[in-house]
């Protein structure tokens, strides 16, 4: 498998606090990579580094063969094929579900094609019955799906999911697993940032664990989660 995204020795600090330190990892094309670590480990900072909200102080990130620089704005990275969800879903609350997706689809399509694209995305995410509901009135799990649906309207290669399982009940989680599998089968590479470890074991083919901004472990989910240093980070890290 070829490499889609590569972080090479990246570091960033905020006012003397090292949020991410000398971190290197690779995301392979077509995989669902789990990205885990205790609270404050630097996961969200990593997403912000990849999407371009922050620039790393040192090190570099390569996406799809292109080395990302200051010139690659958040927007440009999206059009290179990146997408991200937020921990708290952020629908365009003043629009219907359909228009939420349609607006994003307009970027790469004509009006007619954007309507087609919107319908296709609604079908893929099984959100057809929600199409004309005001997005501000969606229940929480459907908001999370809407975040994903909007990203899909951009035809992404790579989606970063930031805690999409938090706050869902087991039934809703099952549905989300199925959706993630469908997306992955459609050829989208997924970086799965999650606290719910059961979900990680369920959907990821590989995981990376970071702690205090540093690389900690990497490997097959079940095996990695049993490693003493990982358990230590999760249990001990919170205590200290």
């Amino acid at each position: 498998m070829s490499i889609l995204l590569e972080a090479n020795d990246i570091s960033i600090s905020f006012g003397g606090i090292h949020a991410v330190q000398n971190l290197s990892f690779q995301v392979k094309k077509g995989e669902v990579l789990g990205f885990i670590g205790p609270n404050g480990a630097g996961k969200s900072t990593c997403i912000n580094l990849i999407t371009g909200v922050y620039m790393p102080d040192t090190g570099s990130i390569t996406f799809d063969g292109v080395k990302l620089t200051e010139k690659h704005t958040i927007r440009e990275r999206v059009h290179m094929g990146m997408g991200r969800t937020f921990q708290t879903p952020r629908p365009f609350g003043n629009m219907t579900v359909y228009d939420n997706i349609f607006t994003v689809a307009l970027q790469q399509n004509s009006f007619a094609a954007a309507h087609e694209k919107t319908k296709e995305v609604l079908k893929l995410t099984e959100m057809e019955h929600w199409a004309d509901v005001a997005s501000a009135k969606l229940p929480i799990e459907m908001r999370k799906w809407l975040d994903l649906a909007r990203i899909l309207a951009n035809d992404p290669k790579f989606i970063m999911m930031d805690e999409v399982m938090a706050g869902l009940n087991p039934n809703e989680m099952e549905n989300s697993f199925a959706l993630i599998e469908r997306l992955n089968q459609a050829g989208i590479t997924i970086l799965f940032i999650e606290h719910v470890l059961r979900a990680v074991v369920r959907v990821c083919s590989r995981v990376i664990v970071i702690n205090e901004g540093r690389f900690l472990a990497e490997g097959e989910p079940r095996e990695v989660l049993d490693r003493p240093e990982v358990i230590e980070a999760y249990i001990g890290g919170k205590r200290s």
Binding site: F14, G52, V53, Y54, M55, T73, I74
Partner: protein, 290 residues
């Protein structure tokens, strides 16, 4: 050279009031993420309140301070309850619109109550100045500057050191958690609003010896202070204070070398230039947009 130094002195003195209003806006913004566009109207109102109390007591501007502080606190409380409180937590558009509406309302209310002609609050020290070597310091401005410094120091001590300050910061950080810790966020918001307004009001009152009291007198003060607040990094008391003084100096230097009304233009140009190069204000951070 004399002109330059003298204009810097004038600028610092004038900047004190800008800084005072800017810190008032910042205290409010820091706690409830609301930009008080009505600060200019409260500034104006305080002058009228001063005139009102003066008209049957005959007190001078400095004796009026406690009375005006109490009256403006009362007005602040009422306006908070009826206009600000209902839009808290709604979109930032709503807060902008309500404070602007409030500003418009107050500005015209004073015309209804006091008439449209400019008033004066007589003061014996209007034209008194202090001489230091070859430089002169207008006495009313010097007093206003010193009072402003004391108030800003007092408020920053209050925010940084006192129990109330701690609950303010906790509420700003996360209102829900603060509630769980037993902090009444409504009360904190109300108090922050009152503190911000009273600071602005005292700023207005202190300038009555050298300004006519009319309904638009506050507008330039609001404008400059808002710019100072933004340049200072929105929510940063120290930043707002320093930028208030800085803009005062810029205005004064431009006025001295060109003409009085060019001062404001000078401030605006500097404001735009700083923003062109230093996106997050003078005391900025790393995050970027777009």
């Amino acid at each position: 050279m004399w002109i330059f130094t003298q204009s810097i002195i004038n600028g610092i003195l004038a900047g004190g009031v800008y800084a005072l209003i800017a810190v008032g806006i910042t205290v409010i913004f820091g706690v409830m993420r609301l930009v008080n566009f009505a600060s200019g109207a409260f500034f104006t109102l305080s002058m009228y309140l001063g005139y009102f109390v003066y008209s049957f007591t005959g007190w001078n501007c400095y004796q009026l301070i406690p009375a005006v502080a109490i009256l403006s606190a009362a007005v602040a409380y009422v306006t908070f309850k009826f206009t600000i409180s209902p839009v808290l937590g709604k979109s930032s558009d709503a807060t902008i619109l309500v404070t602007v509406g409030l500003s418009f309302f107050l500005q015209n209310l004073v015309i209804v109550l006091f008439g449209g002609t400019a008033l004066t609050l007589p003061s014996e020290i209007s034209n008194v100045s202090i001489r230091i070597g070859e430089y002169t310091l207008g006495l009313p401005r010097t007093i206003a500057f010193m009072v402003a410094i004391v108030l800003v120091l007092g408020v920053s001590l209050l925010v940084n050191k006192s129990n109330f300050g701690r609950s303010m910061r906790a509420t700003a950080e996360n209102p829900e958690v603060a509630e769980m810790l037993g902090i009444k966020s409504r009360r904190v918001y109300t108090l922050a609003w009152i503190i911000g307004i009273v600071m602005t009001s005292i700023g207005g009152l202190l300038l009555t010896p050298i300004y006519y009291v009319n309904n638009t007198v506050g507008a330039p003060f609001r404008t400059v202070s808002l710019m100072a607040v933004v340049l200072g990094g929105l929510g940063d008391i120290r930043g707002a204070f320093i930028c208030g003084l800085l803009l005062g100096i810029i205005e004064s230097v431009f006025s001295a070398y060109f003409s009085a009304y060019i001062g404001l233009l000078g401030i605006f140009i500097v404001y735009l230039i700083i923003f062109l190069f230093k996106p997050q204000g003078i005391f900025g951070r790393k995050e970027r947009v777009g």
